[in-house]
């Protein structure tokens, strides 16, 4: 897998066939083949998912629950079957543990507004890592401020992995009620050692929330084996449409939490004096749910599992290994996060000399049709720690191939020539 040996071939999955399922990959960008390297921001959608949406609206669309006519029964079945599909995908004990939200951000806010408001008190500590996405950072910062508690940031090692000693000290010295941690960093790509973290936290009586927004789409995830308390992820990063996310927690925990949003569906009985709540999972789903989104997510999961999560992970690891290798050959390119592809997901953030990341991204796009992201990637605290105001980021998914990596590297050379 070296440049002199030429480009590796895709051994783990057949990207040519996969790419045919993604209509958008046929379009040109500024006259070039589209090289989409921003799946960490949002993934593209296969026609199978788009067909499922259309078929739902053309055949079975109705509001769910409480309707007794055929369409309503079909829509309800599809919606609840999607929940079962998600539950099985993540290894949940029952579908009641799967709460549909708008996205990962809402799932995390739900926990902060319900469990958090009830549990976090004066003097408590919420531990977050230094590489959290704003969505797993700001809700805790705000909650802590409201409850006279504090947010403490777990340091990183020089390799860009989590400093478990720092977490250990924190758990020892403070009254930590929650450890909020990303499964995979959306900047460093770091795969966090979740089972160590869960063991440490639980050993000190702290709960663990896993932000799995970058993990669920890219590797097998079993929430029962993981043993965390809350897991949040988002559909649009895993081939599903926008507007659907998931919160998972154990049934007993969800039972003990007060509801979040109030209105239709989430009630048992409403009188002018008082209201009682519906059973799980509906207690947490107020108003008309995004049935389309749930069906789309189930269809996306079907697609992913047909390819195989193990294959996807192996493919991305090979792409990242090749990309790390090729980028290392570009003078001035420096890479954030661990060097070892086994320690990282399909995300590579980098800088090239003193080329501003936005200029880099613009030139890659305009001159080569390469889509990468530039900025802080919703992780300003991390960038501040790294002493960077921005970085460039390429991220991979099952439809990317080794040619995409080559075009990326050629495009970076172009940018160097233009800006040099």
């Amino acid at each position: 897998m070296t440049a002199s040996l030429g480009r590796p071939v895709a051994a783990h999955l057949d990207t040519t066939t996969v790419r045919e399922d993604f209509p958008i990959l046929r379009r040109l960008a500024h006259g070039h083949r589209l090289v989409y390297l921003d799946s960490a921001a949002t993934s593209q959608k296969p026609r199978q998912v788009l067909d499922a949406l259309r078929s739902y609206y053309e055949n079975s669309n109705a509001n769910v629950h409480r309707g007794v006519y055929l369409l309503a029964e079909e829509a309800t079945e599809l919606y609840e079957a999607a929940r079962v599909r998600v539950a099985r995908f993540i290894g949940a004990s029952s579908a009641e543990e799967v709460i549909f939200t708008r996205n990962a951000t809402e799932a995390i806010n739900l926990v902060a507004y319900t469990w958090g408001q009830e549990t976090i008190g004066s003097g408590d500590t919420i531990a977050v890592s230094a590489l959290e996405h704003h969505s797993n950072f700001v809700p805790w910062q705000v909650l802590a401020a409201n409850r006279s508690a504090q947010v403490d940031v777990v340091d990183l090692t020089s390799e860009g992995t989590l400093d478990l000693d720092c977490l250990d000290r924190m758990l020892m010295e403070k009254r930590v009620r929650l450890v909020a941690i990303a499964g995979i960093s959306n900047v460093m790509g770091t795969i966090n050692p979740l089972s160590d973290i869960v063991d440490l936290a639980h050993g000190h009586g702290a709960m663990v929330l896993v932000d799995a927004a970058q993990m669920a789409p890219h590797m097998t995830m079993d929430v029962r084996r993981l043993d965390a308390d809350f897991v949040a992820f988002t559909g649009h990063k895993m081939l599903a449409p926008m507007g659907i996310g998931v919160l998972w927690a154990r049934e007993q925990l969800l039972q003990s939490m007060p509801p979040f949003l109030f209105g239709g569906e989430m009630i048992r009985r409403v009188t002018e004096r008082e209201t009682t709540w519906n059973d799980l999972p509906w207690k947490f789903e107020a108003g008309t749910p995004n049935v389309e989104g749930a069906i789309g997510l189930a269809s996306a999961i079907d697609y992913l599992e047909q390819i195989g999560m193990k294959q996807i992970r192996a493919h991305e690891k090979a792409l990242v290994a090749y990309a790390l290798h090729r980028l290392a050959d570009i003078p001035g390119a420096s890479i954030l996060g661990p060097r070892d592809p086994a320690l990282r997901g399909g995300v590579i953030a980098f800088t090239v000399g003193d080329i501003h990341p936005h200029d880099l991204a613009s030139i890659l796009d305009r001159r080569h049709g390469v889509c990468i992201r530039a900025g802080h990637h919703c992780a300003q605290p991390l960038h501040e720690r790294l002493g960077l105001s921005a970085s460039a980021r390429a991220s991979f998914y099952l439809y990317n191939d080794f040619e995409d990596v080559d075009v990326l590297c050629d495009a970076i050379q172009t940018a160097k020539a233009v800006m040099g």
Binding site: G67, V68, E73, E77, A81, A92, A95, R269, D279
Partner: protein, 166 residues
Amino acid sequence: MLHGVRRAPVPVYLLETSHPVRGGRGRELRPGRLESAVDDLYRELILDAYKNPRNRGRLEEPDASYEDENPLCGDVIRMDLEIRNGVIEAAKFSGHGCAISQASADLILERVKGQPVEVVLSLSREDVFEELGVESLTVSRVKCAMLPLKVLKAAAYGMQPSLKPG
């Protein structure tokens, strides 16, 4: 041995309609799976039990009573049982609800009258479907059909506190 009217702590119907996760890929929705060209629901059997119930009413001094609600519609079924030597000597249902729930209540009581209480505990969704003469029911109507059995079981469990639902 009189058990007052209470609400079930764990709604039995929910256990029965909860979504199994393990085992198999779950039901795929085949188009038309829920459709029936002829109405197999509002037929003689159900309509007759609904219009001419044989077991509607209250018992004066029941040995066990139970009442619960279908949260989807707010309808309530109550069951009164008279038990002698472990055998259901008399049984009546009351409350209000749709034809499916009322017919189900009537037919299921018809089945258990004169039987040992244990029989109640062994009744399943399939038995209810059999009594109603239907092969399946859609998600919303299955709750109507199962409410009476749920209430009946709760009343029977009340008779035998050692036989709590698993």
